[in-house]
């Protein structure tokens, strides 16, 4: 009897260890053979990316600035970095996307966030100095590096959600295709390595939903944007809002960079507004969770931020662009706090205090191919969310940005200046901009997955100009839409 009893216990112990191994063997990131780093391959791919983009500029677009030589590289190094005048969306959104390619090359070759960040910096630096005849740009270097790392890590993790090496056939093809669209360099690397079609029955999963849960929502609705704050002078257009909360902020065991982030992108469909209305990212780089009192849970950490808000004139005869604001390179301290949950109510509060290394904001005066100032400063963000179990939730977001434009010129015709590069080397109109967004949102549960969402946005901008008259502007908008939400 005793023998039988011991046998049963041993069997149970063996079974549990087998199950544990099986659970581990599901995930790619537990496979030691797949954790190998390929730094030289990543560096080579960065060179190939730069060469590819340069070749497109040089031979397809026949751009003058792509006619590089050793002389142009030497000149660029001698001249040093300046501020450039590309349009808002190029500088604040497309450059980060370019940086995302450098980052993904490193990340998909086994390097971690910080290692890949340095590759993004080097990739951007080499592009600025070597791949264009125009002077290297300090703002491009910053947004490409910081924004690129942010976009790169998000796209890398998003592509991991769809990849599954146990699948084959059409399902596998579709997964690889979507993964490649989300993270192109990773997709190409998978093709080169053969991982794109290799079927595995061990180590085939790329994302562990139990460790890193996912909450995604997509909202489609109407955006009612007023012209200069006048209620009945408006533009109506469809909007699509993609919102994702990745990971659990209150888990100490998932503490790598971007194990927790919130990402949001809003697109306009039709109407007078640009296609990409806003992109927002808040990602944890490092942090620690606390329980200050029983039932209270808090995360205090170091976060990376990326924000992009773009608008154009609301009506054809409008005189004012409502706003343009970006923080491409921003880092800061943050707190996420969950009050003790009751059966009916869940309350979150988040506060962030950031240093903005580089940002951009709309200007009322400066015109040299761009209508925004570059600058640095700080931002403060507050989010309070109250979820009422049966009814829905109420959320209040308050974002305050304060950007200082340090380098600007007074009454100088910049283009006709004796210094041929002076016009390229200014942040804009000297002064500072304070931009405040107040955003209350109400969500009403219609059924467990469909939510009626109503939000209003109030925008206030106060710009002080050192050499021009100060400007204060405000406007607002409403958004009403149906939200489809799912958690995994």
């Amino acid at each position: 009897m005793k023998k039988v009893f011991i046998y049963i216990i041993l069997s149970l112990l063996t079974l549990s260890s087998i199950y544990a191994q099986q659970a581990d063997s599901l995930f790619i990131f537990n496979d030691s053979s797949r954790m190998k780093k390929h730094p030289w391959r990543a560096a080579f791919q960065n060179i190939v990316i730069n060469a590819g983009v340069w070749a497109d500029n040089r031979f397809e677009r026949k751009a003058d600035y792509a006619k590089i030589s050793f002389h142009s590289i030497h000149e660029n190094m001698k001249r040093g970095f300046v501020w450039d005048n590309d349009i808002f969306s190029s500088n604040q959104l497309l450059h980060p996307y370019h940086g995302n390619l450098f980052y993904s090359a490193a990340r998909s070759n086994g390097l971690n966030y910080w290692e890949s960040f340095s590759y993004t910096l080097l990739g951007s630096f080499s592009w600025e100095v070597c791949a264009e005849t125009t002077p290297p740009s300090i703002n491009d270097l910053l947004t490409t590096t910081f924004g690129g790392a942010a976009f790169g890590e998000v796209s890398y993790r998003l592509s991991s959600l769809v990849l599954d090496d146990s699948k084959n056939g059409a399902d596998r093809f579709l997964r690889e295709l979507v993964g490649t669209v989300i993270s192109p360099v990773r997709g190409i690397n998978r093709l080169i390595s053969g991982n794109a079609w290799k079927v595995r029955h061990k180590y085939y999963k790329y994302h562990d939903y139990e460790k890193v849960p996912l909450n995604v929502s997509v909202t489609l609705g109407d955006r009612y944007m007023t012209d200069n704050g006048t209620l009945f002078k408006e533009n109506n257009n469809l909007y699509l809002d993609f919102n994702m909360v990745y990971g659990d902020p209150l888990k100490n065991e998932t503490n790598k960079p971007f194990d927790y982030f919130s990402f949001r992108a809003v697109f306009n469909i039709g109407g007078s507004q640009p296609l990409t209305s806003s992109v927002n990212l808040i990602a944890k780089l490092a942090g620690k969770c606390y329980e200050p009192l029983p039932g209270h849970r808090a995360l205090i950490g170091f976060f990376q931020h990326f924000d992009y808000y773009n608008s154009e004139i609301v009506l054809k005869d409008s005189k004012v662009i409502p706003f343009k604001l970006a923080e491409g390179a921003a880092l800061g301290l943050g707190m996420a706090y969950l009050l003790p949950a009751t059966k009916k109510v869940t309350i979150w509060h988040r506060t962030h205090l950031n240093a903005v290394l580089l940002g951009g904001s709309l200007t009322d005066y400066y015109r040299l191919g761009r209508n925004y100032n570059l600058g640095s400063g700080y931002s403060i963000k507050s989010n309070t969310s109250v979820e009422l179990e049966k009814y829905g939730n109420f959320e209040l977001n308050v974002f305050d940005y304060h950007l200082f434009t340090w380098k600007g010129y007074d009454n100088v015709d910049l283009k006709s200046s004796k210094n041929p590069y002076l016009y390229l080397n200014t942040q804009g109109d000297k002064g500072n901009t304070q931009f405040l967004i107040i955003n209350p949102v109400m969500n009403f549960i219609l059924n467990p997955k469909i939510i009626l969402s109503f939000g209003s946005y109030y925008y206030f901008r106060k710009t002080h100009y050192a050499y021009n008259k100060d400007v204060f502007s405000k406007t607002f908008e409403f958004r009403l839409g149906l939200k489809y939400s799912f958690k995994k």
Partner: protein, 381 residues
């Protein structure tokens, strides 16, 4: 004798040591960054004045002025001014003013002022004034005044005032006054005044556009829409809802307003209706509409019939009157109706209404027209 002498010497030494532990060794501290200061941090020191860029003290009884911040280990009694922030690991008694934030791990008695956030982890008593957020984690008593959010993580007694949102997560004796929303996740004894109010139970008053109560109401809900899970709650509002309230949709046409869509909140004998309609036929204009509210009484007769009467207020808007400049842009109408409703099945019914409408101009109060009403439609749900 020698023994007695040794004991005496030892006693004197012990007394000296005790005194050394309590004495103010470095009353004034000039600090750039601890330990680059005249009195580097020592857990035994009591400091009376600390001045500098950043400083770290064990106990501060007096005044601290720091361009950047101040870290205190055991407690602050007095006044502390900081350009960026202050972190007090012990208790804080007095006045604490910081450019961005204040954090007190122990007990806070006094006044806190910060632009971004005041955070108190244990018991707090006093006034918290913040541009963005006041946050008490432990029990608290006093006043929270914030630009955006006041949060009480445990029991709170006192006043919360903000332009944004007030939150109390535990049972509280509280007056909440908010520009947007008041939330009490547990039963509240007191008053909530805001655009939206929620409490899981209320002994007092909710005053706002939308009032929600997840439990018992001992007091009054006053607003446009009042909801409580307590069917006996006293509510004063345009729409009063409880779990027994039936939500129905009405679609109908009539001789006065052509097409109408409405929501009816129906209790056993009373109901309210909110709806929209287009077009108001007398305006002879395809772009006119009406927004209306009706309140009435009804009696079910057997299972399938329901007769009712109601009074209503209609706001009528003439949207694009470019060709008919003599027509008014806005009108209002007071209407009385008698309705008969027949439900062949439970979730579908047909109804006919008859009544009379007095339509008048805003401002001058003159009559635009008086006319009888005839309407037919159906009820869903």
């Amino acid at each position: 004798m020698i023994k007695q002498l040794i004991i005496l010497i030892l006693l004197i030494f012990s007394l000296e040591l005790l005194n050394a532990q309590n004495k103010v060794d470095r009353p004034i501290n000039f600090s750039l960054w601890n330990p680059v200061s005249t009195a580097p941090y020592d857990s035994l020191y009591i400091t009376n004045v600390t001045l500098g860029f950043t400083s770290k003290t064990s106990t501060l009884n007096g005044v601290g002025v720091n361009l950047c911040g101040h870290f205190n280990e055991k407690g602050v009694n007095g006044l502390s001014l900081n350009g960026v922030g202050e972190f007090v690991k012990g208790n804080m008694n007095g006045l604490e003013i910081s450019g961005l934030f204040n954090v007190v791990s122990g007990h806070m008695h006094g006044l806190q002022v910060a632009i971004v956030q005041n955070t108190n982890i244990l018991h707090a008593k006093g006034v918290m004034l913040s541009g963005i957020t006041n946050f008490t984690i432990g029990n608290a008593r006093g006043v929270q005044l914030a630009g955006v959010t006041n949060m009480a993580g445990s029991h709170f007694s006192g006043l919360q005032t903000t332009l944004g949102i007030n939150i109390a997560s535990s049972s509280s004796n509280l007056f909440q006054l908010a520009g947007l929303v008041n939330i009490c996740a547990a039963p509240i004894n007191g008053v909530q005044v805001g655009m939206g109010n929620y409490a899981s139970g209320i002994k007092g008053l909710q005053l706002g556009l939308l009032n929600l109560c997840g439990g018992e109401v001992r007091g009054l809900q006053m607003g446009i829409i009042n909801y409580s899970e307590d069917t006996s709650a006293v509510k004063v509002g345009l729409v009063n809802i409880n779990p027994k309230t039936q939500l129905q949709m009405l679609a109908y046409g009539g001789n006065m307003i052509q097409n109408n869509l409405a929501v009816r909140f129906k209790s056993r004998y009373t109901y309210t209706i909110f709806g929209i309609g287009t077009n108001y036929l007398e305006l002879d204009n395809k772009s006119s509409g009406a927004l209306f509210y009706r309140i009435g009484l009804g009696i079910p007769i057997k299972r399938a019939f329901f007769i009712s009467t109601d009074a209503g207020f209609f706001h009528i808007e003439n949207f694009h009157d470019e060709d008919h400049t003599d027509l008014p842009n806005h009108l209002y109408s007071l209407q009385l109706r008698f309705n008969m409703e027949y439900h062949p099945i439970r979730k579908f019914g047909l109804f006919a209404s008859g009544g009379y409408a007095c339509t008048r101009y805003y401002g001058s109060g003159g009559t635009f027209e008086n006319q009888p009403i005839v309407e037919f439609g159906f009820v869903l749900f």
